[in-house]
Symmetry: C2
Subunit: 249 residues, 2 copies
């Protein structure tokens, strides 16, 4: 790190609906990263590169995404979040900021992540929730869904629940906990793991829904996991129900 430069850790929340995902796109599409960099550059008056903990897909939301960046400016790190508010678009909020250790990296230093997936089971779903929950009609057996999730807890090779499209050195991840709970007419999945593969949460939810609908035996997830065969797991659930809730360091 250059003398006088400092690393800042920034926690942000965003509604993913109007973004082409988190990661910057070569063709100038609107992404969370590009909006964060533009806002920080306007505020700090220097070129900024932002590194995020998770590359959320288009339509996926974040309550506690973590990013870091390095600045030459002597702004107090904890003042970055409140100062940034006037530069950010209405669909991104800066929650907090603090000085980070020079070795800190939003993605590489992460030790765990929480994701949430929200399903709206209302037979006449409100259009006001169309972007922030996924609608599923029909009968779902919650106990079957919970049983389908059980074998996924612990350290496993999750290749069967990963979509192709990004490079990873290993497909082994540690799932600390995995729950599904009814909250009124909503169904909320909470996943806590060491890390998640590309589209892994949405593939797990899509597979659990197959079990909940009775189209797949709940016990089948154990075999699917062991097979490492993406073709045997369920379809990828839509992005609009998914939230990156928290990143742990």
């Amino acid at each position: 790190m250059l003398s006088g430069s400092r690393k800042v850790k920034l926690v942000v929340s965003y509604e993913g609906t109007a973004f082409h995902g988190y990661q910057k796109q070569p063709d100038g599409l609107r992404t969370v990263q590009s909006e964060l960099e533009r806002s920080l550059e306007e505020f700090l008056g220097e070129k900024i590169e932002v590194f995020g903990a998770s590359r959320t897909d288009a339509g996926v939301h974040a309550i506690g995404q973590v990013v870091h960046f390095t600045t030459e400016k002597q702004v107090p790190p904890e003042k970055v979040a409140p100062a940034l508010r006037r530069y950010l678009p209405p669909d991104i909020a800066a929650t907090s900021s603090e000085l980070a250790d020079e070795n800190f990296h939003a993605r590489h230093s992460a030790r765990g992540k929480y994701y949430m997936y929200v399903i709206n089971r209302s037979p006449s779903p409100s259009l006001f929730l169309r972007n922030t929950a996924t609608c599923v009609q029909g009968t779902l057996d919650i106990s079957k869904m919970a049983r389908a999730l059980e074998p996924l807890v612990g350290e496993h090779d999750f290749a069967a629940f990963m979509n192709k499209g990004t490079y990873t050195s290993t497909t082994v991840r540690n799932m600390f906990s995995l729950e599904v709970a009814e909250k009124g007419s909503f169904l909320v999945f909470t996943l806590h793991g060491s890390g998640f593969l590309y589209k892994m949460v949405r593939n797990i939810v899509g597979t659990a829904l197959e079990a909940g609908r009775g189209r797949m035996a709940p016990e089948a997830t154990r075999d699917i996991l062991e097979s490492g065969d993406r073709g045997r797991a369920g379809p990828t659930a839509p992005p609009n129900g998914l939230y990156l809730v928290k990143v742990e360091y």
Copy 2:
């Protein structure tokens, strides 16, 4: 009415955020009326003119807006709403439809309307609610707000709570009931009246907020009402907290 033509009453819900209000604009801006007419024309294959009960402003939402139109097509009226779903944009939903009497007019036949205004008082409001509730920070005295609303119940000349901009033959309206209630960190106003003048709900809410903040005596609303002077009432509350809930016939 032409022989064979029939009048259909249609109930719709919409999120007003991405519309330039309900009413069709000469310059082709996106409005609720223009989207409804386009959708009905695509479905029915004929030119359709839609008449709405309320000309909601840009950013104002509807849970139960009522419109009517006349069609030459022999489609069963109750099938219009479900059939229309594939033609409507994601921010408009068709709730129900039925055959209307040939003398029915969505606006002129209305005998009462319910409006709701939602205020988010959370000190750290979720960005997911930015378009569907108005944020108000700081202390609000709910009992003062309720006292400020009391004198407005009954039949009155509401000129002091009307903005200029639309023609009306009389500024007398009957307010059947007017309530404000705390629901968690939200404050919900419910207004039920014979009809509402241009920006009347938002001006009443803006005035009640002045009383709640202690900037105005709650009793002052009686004098403001009697004065007929718009300059003495509070500011117009933002559109994003307002919902047209129901129209009565």
